[in-house]
């Protein structure tokens, strides 16, 4: 195996610039004549805009222009799009880049100022006088559904956005009625604020003939180009979106934002490049949040622990408006409420609800962490109810044969969940942990020990276009890749995915180098620019390798096929008589008759001697539409120490065994797993976006919202099981697995540490206060 083959830990190509501080993040880019934009935002969760006085701002030093929402109303071809109307009768209120009559959440933009520098724009924004009449507002997703709750959109006459159901054919209620044991539990998963360390940023330029270029810290340059036409009315053919180096996304940059449309519209009006860099406190208000879901989950089971039905009812906050895929986020979890278990009866209901809060949308895992959390917590609750070991309960219910068609209708192509669980137990030494736990319980040690499990699966690799169509998503889920040999044998690879930390340059180079037998350094991966990569569906939902990587595989097959035809023609042999390995074609039985692929590339461009009718050049494009989702899975365990006197917790060990199929670059995959696990641990122990009942955000900075540092976390123990997915590379997605699996393992461990005291639940996140209160409650 070569040092760069698929399966080896090639060191990243991306690092050479990033580790030297030579990244091209939007904030580092500038154009001659650039002006800076500042957005004036509503300080109230809900208010009628009585008047906007821009005169002082317009007169301020360095100010070029200032506009209210009403001033710009004629600039919009349409509102900010929502691409996922999940039901026929979903309520989709209009959402324009600036509010005109009413502001509906704290942070809703009401005016915009453009000035010669960022500081002057900010100074002038403070001079904008907006008169508001405060309106009743609601911040809580459950209260928003109560009779008489303040209405976010009064013309809708309800805060209910939609009700969506998925049920297996018949029998869920009957299975529950007939069950030996029924366990129902409620859970609240709070707001999570994604906190990519690079806030959002934009630079927009519009030329005299209307051609627009937008540099944006986005995950989705292609979808953004499409959406911009709908909002600003410039045809897609004249829009170029460039995602330069992007400093993390986690779903928060998978959106079409008001500021993106504003920057383009203002660049067009003013004839100057417009730049906007989000501040962190602004990011907390104006960039989407995740989660904010209240669940009730019911299991029906037999006394020997076979689960016969799962029923979930969830109330899901949309926020004040529907962003790009806001209503669809719960649906991304709709098929994993049975997780890796064989459960014959299945019912899932989501109620989407408007509140006077920042819109929610995709945050790492999107829907699947929500589902997996309530499923895995309830597995432990059922185990306690049955007096059964939680590992044994899981094992009894795991799917054992693949492919497996679930009661919910989709088919899991591959997996070996028991192998992951077995490997996890090998690493864990559960007997020693239980012995330590028993000793501490016996001695009344203030520091108690608990172990929590999470066996999980997920559906990712978004997504088969036909299925997306069936669930009313507006666009497709395919992706595209081009492999372009240059005449002297170096290779340009153009992909439709758009990375922001995921190492596509390295991983995709490895695939091409491996398939075509060229040097890794001869491969250049181009991405994130719609002028370079015309076709693409971008990066989210653990799709880049499992969809984009497979497009690349198919493009490489096409390149090999064309090269084979050229070689056969020039060596005057049949194509069937050629073997291709390590970049060289050789004639079977005559190993001295060879031609390497670089020579073929030259011949293809010289075109002196090609088969009749063949077009010159060696360049092939493949678009790949997956037939199924990607189905990673695995088993995780957390060991937690809980201080019963203070409620403080410490994560002692975290062990993860994941099956993400075949692995292209183990070091990069481990990095994805580490990062994913950490965001789940953070949700379990630290992070909570807090709104008061009216919708005032109380956690508005990194000083009040705890993004964990290295000091809060341990090093992780990771391992893999590899079952080949049903695709030519055998690969599955990996970007979200850790976040999906880890939160319930951590909370199950905290509850386990305190279960002998009678504690059965801890709210999220399990802060020292919540843990302490849970202990006090059972003591009194």
């Amino acid at each position: 195996m070569s040092a760069t083959a698929i399966g080896t830990s090639v060191k990243r190509k991306e690092d050479a610039s990033l580790v030297r501080g030579r990244g091209t993040y939007v904030e580092n880019l500038t154009l001659p004549g650039t002006v800076f934009m500042a957005v004036v935002r509503s300080p109230y969760p809900h208010a009628r805009i009585e008047s906007v006085d821009l005169s002082a701002a317009r007169a301020a030093e360095g100010v070029i222009a200032a506009f209210s929402g009403a001033d710009l109303a004629g600039d919009w071809a349409g509102g900010l799009p929502c691409a996922w109307p999940v039901t026929e009768d979903i309520k989709m209120p209009p959402h324009y880049p600036l509010a005109v009559d009413e502001a509906r959440y704290q942070g809703d933009g009401v005016a915009v100022v453009v000035a010669e520098s960022r500081a002057l724009a900010k100074d002038a924004a403070e001079l904008v006088e907006v008169e508001y009449e405060q309106l009743p507002s609601v911040g809580d997703v459950v209260k928003a559904l109560e009779d008489g709750a303040p209405l976010v959109h009064s013309d809708l006459e309800t805060n209910e956005c939609y009700v969506w159901k998925l049920e297996s054919e018949g029998g869920v209620e009957e299975a529950i009625a007939a069950a030996d044991v029924v366990v129902t539990r409620s859970y609240r998963q709070p707001r999570l604020i994604p906190n990519a360390i690079e806030p959002r940023g934009l630079l927009a330029q519009v030329g005299p003939t209307g051609e627009a270029t937008l540099w944006s810290a986005t995950q989705i340059p292609h979808i953004l180009r499409f959406a911009l036409q709908l909002v600003v009315g410039i045809p897609e053919s004249k829009i170029r979106v460039i995602a330069p180096d992007v400093g993390g996304g986690f779903g928060s940059k998978l959106d079409v934002y008001a500021e993106e449309a504003l920057a383009v519209a203002l660049a067009k009006r003013l004839g100057r490049p417009v730049k906007w860099i989000e501040e962190r406190s602004e990011n907390y208000l104006a960039t989407i949040h995740g989660r904010d879901v209240v669940h009730e989950l019911t299991f029906a089971a037999t006394t020997d622990g076979k689960i016969t039905a799962v029923k979930s009812e969830a109330t899901c906050a949309m926020g004040a408006y529907l962003q790009l895929v806001t209503p669809g986020i719960p649906l991304l979890g709709a098929w994993v409420y049975s997780g890796p278990y064989e459960i014959p009866h299945y019912s899932v209901t989501f109620t989407g609800v408007f509140t006077n809060t920042t819109p929610t949308d995709a945050y790492r895992g999107a829907g699947r962490p929500e589902a997996t959390y309530v499923l895995e917590r309830t597995m432990d609750a059922l185990a306690r109810e049955l007096g059964m070991d939680p590992v044994e309960l899981r094992r009894r219910n795991l799917v054992k044969e693949f492919p497996h068609t679930m009661a919910s209708g989709l088919t899991i192509d591959s997996g070996d969940y028991e192998a992951s669980l077995d490997k996890l137990l090998e690493h864990l030494d559960l007997d020693a942990i239980r012995a330590d736990q028993a000793k501490r319980r016996e001695s009344g040690d203030p520091k108690q020990l608990g172990v929590g499990f999470s066996t999980y699966n997920e559906m990712c690799g978004l997504a088969p276009s036909r299925i997306l169509g069936a669930i009313r998503y507006a666009v497709g889920g395919w992706d595209s890749a081009t492999i372009r040999f240059q005449p002297l044998g170096s290779v340009q690879v153009v992909v439709g995915t758009s990375p922001h930390g995921q190492s596509h340059e390295t991983t995709f180079s490895q695939i091409v180098a491996d398939r075509l037998g060229v040097d890794l350094d001869d491969v250049e991966v181009l991405h994130g620019d719609t002028a370079v990569s015309q076709l693409g569906m971008d990066t989210y939902g653990s799709r880049s390798l499992s969809v984009g990587g497979l497009a690349l595989f198919h493009a490489s097959e096409k390149v090999i096929a064309k090269a084979r035809a050229i070689v056969a023609h020039q060596l005057e042999v049949s194509e069937d008589d050629l073997e291709f390995a390590s970049g060289t074609f050789s004639v079977k039985g005559s190993p001295d008759r060879t031609m390497d692929i670089k020579a073929v590339a030259f011949q293809a461009h010289a075109a002196h001697n090609l088969p009749d009718g063949m077009e010159p050049g060696l360049e092939e494009t493949a678009t790949y539409d997956p037939a199924n989702f990607s189905w990673p899975g695995g088993a995780h365990a957390a060991v937690m120490e809980v201080d019963c006197e203070t409620g403080d917790t410490r994560l002692v060990r975290y062990v993860a065994v994941d099956d993400v199929g075949a692995v292209v670059n183990p070091q990069i995959v481990d990095g994805q797993v580490h990062g994913g696990i950490t965001q789940g641990i953070a949700a379990a122990l630290y992070e909570e976006g807090v709104y008061d009942d009216e919708g005032n955000l109380l956690t508005t900075t990194m000083a009040t919202y705890l993004v964990p540092s290295a000091a809060e976390l341990p090093s992780y123990e990771t391992d893999r099981v590899e079952t080949a997915a049903d695709n030519p590379l055998g690969i599955k997605g990996v970007g979200e697995t850790g976040t999906i699996a880890s939160a319930p393992a951590v909370i199950n461990a905290v509850v386990d540490a305190l279960s002998h005291l009678g504690v059965t639940d801890i709210g999220l996140p399990a802060t020292p206060e919540r843990v302490w209160r849970a202990i006090e409650e059972v003591r009194t």
């Binding site: 501080g21 990244g23 990062g675 900075t701």
Partner: protein, 154 residues
């Protein structure tokens, strides 16, 4: 405007800056040293960490005028003669960066920790890097990289 004299990455600069201008913007916008990133507005994230007279400092917590007469090292000044600093090299080897946005600050904070003899164990490295947030890596590989650069055994 106020005059300040700074030495940045061994180059002397005489500049006119606004009294309210933060050091990070002096570096980024007046000197074009865009390697120092800004990730928050509460001195929480550490992306803007630079070395001021050898000490690791969040350059958003300091005004440009306060840096008058001081010696500053940014990420651009860490490699010498094209050779990566051992911490930069270790970050590359251990895949201690993904999106790279926190990396300049993280590398400088780690270099300072090692320089001060405080990176004595993995636990000490974790404590020492508490002021620098990374959202991508979960810190696992950052700790491994710093441990290697500091000569902490595994």
């Amino acid at each position: 405007m106020r005059r300040v004299a700074l030495t940045v990455n061994a180059v002397q600069h005489d500049l006119e800056v606004e009294p309210r201008e933060l050091l990070v913007y002096v570096l980024r916008e007046r000197l074009g040293l865009t390697g120092t990133n800004v990730g928050c507005d509460t001195s929480s994230c550490g992306s803007c960490t630079v070395l001021v007279n050898g000490e690791s400092v969040k350059s958003c917590t300091m005004l440009g005028v306060q840096a008058d007469g001081m010696d500053i090292t940014t990420i651009e000044g860490l490699a010498s003669n094209g050779e990566l600093h051992p911490v930069q090299q270790a970050f590359h080897e251990h895949h201690a960066l993904q999106c790279g946005f926190c990396t300049p600050g993280m590398v400088l904070a780690a270099a300072s920790l090692i320089e001060h003899g405080e990176a004595t164990s993995r636990a000490a490295i974790r404590e020492g890097l508490e002021g620098n947030l990374c959202r991508c890596t979960g810190y696992h590989n950052i700790v491994e990289a710093v441990a290697e650069a500091a000569g902490v055994s595994s």
